[in-house]
Symmetry: C2
Subunit: 241 residues, 2 copies
């Protein structure tokens, strides 16, 4: 039986051996939720990059460029980090270069893994089914908040663990903590997260609607995975093949 | 109102500014529980050191020497890491040099703090009262397990947060998670922790009695703090002064 483990911060990733594993990278508020939304609305590829300038350079190659810094859209970019900005047909058939504070970093630090999957509550079941097929050991890599532990990514890890618990082994403390926290919170994730400083910070930016959206489960049948230096939607590829 | 925050691993300590703060270093299984027990049974000072050889050298200075590696007493030392080994009058009036896998490291990495306090369930209320008097911002530094998150230290952080919640501010996610986990677990900490791999590993070493003992609350009125390059029991000093 394969196993599932959770890494609460990119700052702890050096303690884990990623070889032979499937990584699920998660940044619920809002990088990975937004990527999933973009694929659901027809984006063909997403290129996550670390730096604003690097991201900006992709505009010349015909890409849409997206950037968020400290919770708001960076100046001079087509898109920010709100999933609602990706829904009006503007991303259909396009490649998006995106840079975000925490989420991009989690993906880039996970390159040693056999497979990197982008996870969000929005595509929870799609990831669950893919992991059951893969039969690799799983490590959920939480983007965290500037290197520190955050609740929303942990709750996602707990949701994934709950759905995988009959098929994946876990005795490690991070997965147990994630599962218990999710089971405490799941009846009302929005209220539970309202205690958190990061969520309060985001609510001050008037993105309460974003938060409620990003906590919805199983909205999209989308499976972003890392292939040839970018993210593609494996659910679409599988339909086409 | 001062604040309380929780750092889940020494590997994350570089993300926190310790200046002006009180650190509560915790390694429930078993370094800090054992230190608290040693003071309760009359030890005068405890010198935590990183390396076995360094620790061994203290024998020549008339110290008792204590060492644990991978859960068992290291060869050639007077004492291991079981609190029960410190109870038969053998530590009364003695200085103990001790090295342990995770706990010593948490203390040594916290030297920037204004005050370092050794916390365990065994002396929970003594630490609570001291922190209320100090009125400094508090950071609980969990020793973790080889750099990774562990449940027992997190539950201690949650117990401390529960008792301090009327007097200390916390909005950060690590403290919220610790508090929720403690409130889920507190009616039966032993059973809750039995799911954890670290506790299973320790139970294989037949130290179930140690685990039950280390989870007892408020057994000792002991307050180990860092003064002049060693730990002393501030509760005793205060009685004497």
């Amino acid at each position: 039986m394969p196993s599932i483990d959770v890494c609460f911060s990119p700052e702890l990733l050096h303690l884990y051996d990623l070889k032979g594993k499937a990584v699920v990278a998660v940044d619920i508020l809002r990088a990975t939720s937004t990527m999933v939304t973009a694929f659901a609305h027809g984006a063909t590829d997403i290129i996550p990059v670390m730096k604003l300038e690097e991201c900006q350079a992709y505009a010349e190659k015909g890409c849409l460029i997206a950037a968020e810094r400290d919770g708001i859209k960076a100046e001079g970019f087509d898109l920010g980090n709100s999933p609602f900005a990706y829904m009006d047909g503007n991303v259909k058939g396009r490649t998006i270069a995106i840079t975000t504070t925490n989420g991009t970093r989690a993906i880039h630090l996970s390159m040693e893994a056999d497979e990197i999957i982008v996870g969000a509550f929005l595509n929870l079941q799609a990831v669950v089914e893919h992991l059951k097929e893969l039969q690799l050991d799983v490590l959920v890599v939480c983007a965290g908040w500037k290197g520190k532990f955050n609740l929303e990514d942990t709750l996602y890890a707990g949701a994934l663990a709950e759905r995988l618990q009959d098929d994946f082994a876990f005795e490690n403390d991070a997965t147990l903590a994630s599962l218990h926290l999710y089971q405490t919170a799941k009846n009302d994730l929005v209220s539970f997260l309202r205690q958190s400083s990061h969520v309060r910070r985001l609510e001050n930016l008037e993105i309460h609607k974003d938060i409620e959206f990003c906590l919805q489960h199983d909205t999209y049948d989308v499976l972003p995975v890392w292939k040839n230096d970018k993210l593609v939607d494996l659910a679409v590829k599988e339909l086409k093949s």
